[in-house]
């Protein structure tokens, strides 16, 4: 019973942290361009390319 008194808050806290992270990513627009993210990884972002 003693263990529960801090284990449950920890579990809920972790869950809330996950929920918070989800809301943050939703608000910062990370779910708006799901296809673009897959392509952006291919863009070279160094400006002085050798060619």
């Amino acid at each position: 019973m003693n263990g529960l008194s801090f284990l449950i808050p920890i579990a809920l806290g972790l869950g809330l942290a996950g929920l918070g992270a989800f809301f943050w990513s939703l608000r910062s627009g990370q779910f708006e361009d799901l296809d673009g993210a897959a392509l952006r990884i291919l863009i070279d972002d160094n400006d002085e390319r050798p060619d």
Binding site: M1, L4, I8, A11, L12, G15, L16, G18, L19, F22, F23, L26, F31, E32, D33, L34, D35, G36, L39, R40, I41, L42, I43, D44
Partner: protein, 736 residues
């Protein structure tokens, strides 16, 4: 200088790859005044933050300079997100809340199931209640709203049993918790919401993407025109900003953005998109032209008589609105199932409550069992059965260049038993293609290429494309001038004239070339009335005619044969002349009717509908709009007019007609999988409901069986993806 930064958005139908994103973002960043640019690949848009000194026109030019055609979508500073976007985000937020609640309540429930007793169980139940009740109140809203809307209109849909089940389960569990009972169904209520919301989110994501693509295509036909201002300056304006009384400069190869009367110039007009008529029509001063038609020969000045929503298109829009009633009356298969399902489930729950009361179980026990029946029968699997199958198949179709605009389109498509097709632009490419001579004399070809490539005339462009494709190199022709309404002329340096003047060469109208001193001029062959002709004349030589025709789309014959094999009995409906329609119909092996006005087409489809047929209409022109709207289901190529794209349920990219039978096939397979899913869901109920009625269903059993049936249904729907991949290969993906 740095006034308040503004935000503009542009549609970019042309972006295809990572390179395009990099080009646009890095190219715009270099432009002074641009603060930042971000491309959204999913919606094919770019959002630009910029100083107020740059207007949307300057940005549009900048994007054009980077090699992308762009359409402005929003000009206001920091516009609020549209209602639909807000709705999508709301669904995602609800999904997040439901997911959080489901996980934590499940965690607590597992401890209860594994034997927590007394005060511990009581605390866990209270904790569950604290998490579950706000979660249900928030995440359940999409279902409650929809259910309430249906009930208020005296109807029922899938959301009614869902809402009742969730609310009763939550209420009952709260009561159990208060009196210290053994069973609470909080976990069932929230995980049910989680599963169903997942289905909703998938559904809306799919539709948003199709909408974005469709909107991007929609603007391509006549986005706007160059307006001649009173002070002699010109300005490019969007079609909805053009007003009657304005003067419009329309160049060669440009589409008219408004209805009007020709004030200056003489040209011929390609009306194929509007009337289906394939031969061009001459217009001169005082002649009337309609928005959406193509100016072929020479620049003209137009006095606008009607613009925007008042054009002849508006008449079409009214016809279409009247015709589309049948579609809005269509009841989706899930809602049809709900019509039987919801009353059955509710009476079952009521009966088991009454039965246990009669058997003397006491109202508490009886109510608990009735709630268990409701939870078990709550159409979790049914709610997922349709959206998951449709998301999977829409995704598979989208990769093949087929955009499903409407959620119920595939269901209606699967029911179609007749297909009507337009001719010009649908069965044919709707643009001139060189048909004779096959291989022109190399010298003539190189002269023709030199002349043709400077002109924007559709015939010249087609000729230049064909010749370049054959590897022809242009001959040395100087002093090239384009004579409006006639053609292109120049001096060909053949190396024999020492004075460097060269021989006069002309490419253009048959009559124009004949004015040169030539040997003989061939009389036009009989039976070539529907052919387009341009003639290359070299001073002192026999003129060489190039014949063009609107050719069948590649794979048209195969596609028609496949549609026939699918039992759809293809029928051509066209506004073109009867003979032209008949000859095309013979060529593809279908029956055909010509000379139809938009209203006639509508009538044909209505008559078929009255005879009990479900018609699939495939068309592209403005004249097909009402027919597309009145068909049970409709498809249009992406090259279609605005109106047709709005009216059609499904759009396909590329030249091939193969997507039509492919979509029919996919739709039928989808319906089969949906029916299988219904059978699975009902089979599960047949197994689980007796257990619930007998009182054996504890929260643990409910949670397990609900998840199991949902996963089974999703897995079955995912099979569609594999079938769709394995289907006959096609070249649809290579758009334009």
């Amino acid at each position: 200088m740095t006034a308040t930064p503004r935000h503009s958005e542009f549609l970019l139908p042309g972006i295809r790859c990572a390179g395009c994103i990099a080009t646009i973002e890095q190219g715009l960043a270099k432009k002074p005044g641009v603060l930042g640019a971000r491309v959204n690949f999913t919606t094919r848009r770019v959002g630009i933050d910029h100083d107020a000194v740059l207007d949307s026109e300057a940005l549009r030019e900048e994007l054009t300079a980077l090699g992308f055609s762009a359409e402005p979508v929003r000009e206001e500073a920091a516009a609020a997100p549209s209602g639909e976007e807000e709705q999508d985000r709301g669904l995602l937020r609800a999904l997040g809340i439901a997911g959080f609640a489901a996980m934590n309540v499940m965690l607590l429930s597992v401890s209860v199931w594994s034997g927590a007793e007394g005060a511990t169980r009581q605390m866990f139940h209270w904790l569950s209640a604290l998490i579950a009740m706000p979660a249900v109140a928030y995440a359940g809203q999409p279902f409650f709203r929809s259910a309430w809307g249906a009930l208020r209109r005296g109807r029922t849909n899938m959301d009614v049993p869902i809402s009742i089940g969730v609310l009763l389960a939550t209420g009952m569990s709260l009561f159990e918790t208060i009196i210290g009972g053994r069973h609470a169904y909080f976990d069932g209520a929230v995980s049910l919401l989680f599963f169903l919301l997942a289905g909703r989110v998938l559904d809306s994501a799919m539709r948003r993407r199709a909408r974005g693509d469709a909107a991007a295509l929609l603007r391509e036909t006549a986005p706007g025109g160059t307006v001649l201002l009173a002070d002699g300056r010109t300005e490019w304006r969007r079609a909805d900003r053009i007003e009657p009384g304005m003067r419009l400069l329309v160049g060669m190869g440009e589409r008219f953005a408004a209805d009007g009367i020709v004030e200056e110039g003489e040209s011929s007009i390609d009306r194929s998109l509007v009337t289906g008529e394939s031969a061009p029509d001459p217009v001169r001063q005082g002649g009337l032209v309609y928005a959406g038609t193509l100016n072929m020969d020479a620049p003209v000045t137009l006095r606008v008589t009607a613009a925007g929503r008042d054009t002849a298109m508006a008449e079409m829009a009214r016809l279409m609105e009247a015709a589309s009633g049948a579609k809005s009356r269509y009841v989706r298969i899930a809602d049809r199932a709900a019509r039987f399902y919801a009353p059955a489930v509710h009476s079952l729950a009521a009966l088991s409550f009454a039965g246990w009361m009669l058997a003397g179980a006491g109202w508490h026990q009886s109510l608990l069992i009735a709630v268990a029946v409701l939870i078990i029968t709550c159409p979790c699997a049914l709610g997922l059965a349709v959206p998951v199958a449709q998301v999977v198949i829409s995704g598979a179709l989208m990769r093949r260049g087929i955009l499903v605009k409407d959620g119920s389109a595939l269901e209606r498509m699967a029911e179609a038993d007749r297909v009507c097709l337009d001719k010009t632009g649908t069965l044919t490419l709707g643009r001139p293609v060189l048909i004779a001579p096959d291989i022109p004399d190399p010298q003539a070809a190189s002269i023709a290429l030199a002349l043709a490539r400077v002109s924007r005339h559709p015939l010249a462009r087609s000729l230049a494309r064909t010749l370049e494709g054959q590897g022809v190199t242009a001959a040395p022709v100087d002093e090239i001038v384009e004579v409006a309404g006639m053609g292109v002329e120049g001096r060909w340096n053949d190396g024999q004239h020492q004075d460097g003047t060269g021989r006069l060469v002309r490419l253009g109208r048959p009559g124009w070339g004949a004015m040169l001193p030539v040997d003989t001029f061939p009389t036009p062959a009989e039976g070539t009335g529907d052919m387009l002709l341009c003639v290359l004349t070299v001073e002192g030589e026999a003129p060489l005619p190039f014949r063009f025709s609107d050719r069948l789309r590649p794979g048209a014959r195969e596609a028609i044969a496949r549609l026939d094999a699918q039992g759809l009995r293809p029928l051509l409906l066209s506004g073109d002349r009867q003979e032209a329609v008949k000859s095309v119909a013979r060529e593809v092996g279908a029956s055909g009717v010509g000379g139809l006005s938009p209203l006639d087409k509508l009538e044909v489809i209505r008559d078929l509908g009255k005879a009990g047929h479900k018609v699939l209409m495939v068309g592209d022109g403005l004249n097909d709009g009402p027919a597309l709207a009145s068909g049970h289901v409709s498809m249009a190529p992406a090259s279609a007019s605005d109106v047709s794209q709005t009216a059609a349920d499904i759009l396909f990219l590329g030249d091939s007609l193969e997507p039509v039978p492919l979509t029919v096939d996919a739709a039928r397979r989808t319906l089969r999988v949906i029916k299988q899913n219904f059978a699975l869901a009902i089979g599960y109920n047949v197994f689980a409901v007796p257990l619930a009625i007998m009182g054996f269903v504890t929260p643990l059993v409910a949670a397990l069986s609900m998840s199991a049936s949902s996963i089974l249904v999703i897995a079955n729907a995912l099979r569609l993806r594999i079938i769709a991949r394995g289907a006959a290969p096609s070249n649809v993906g290579t758009a334009r």
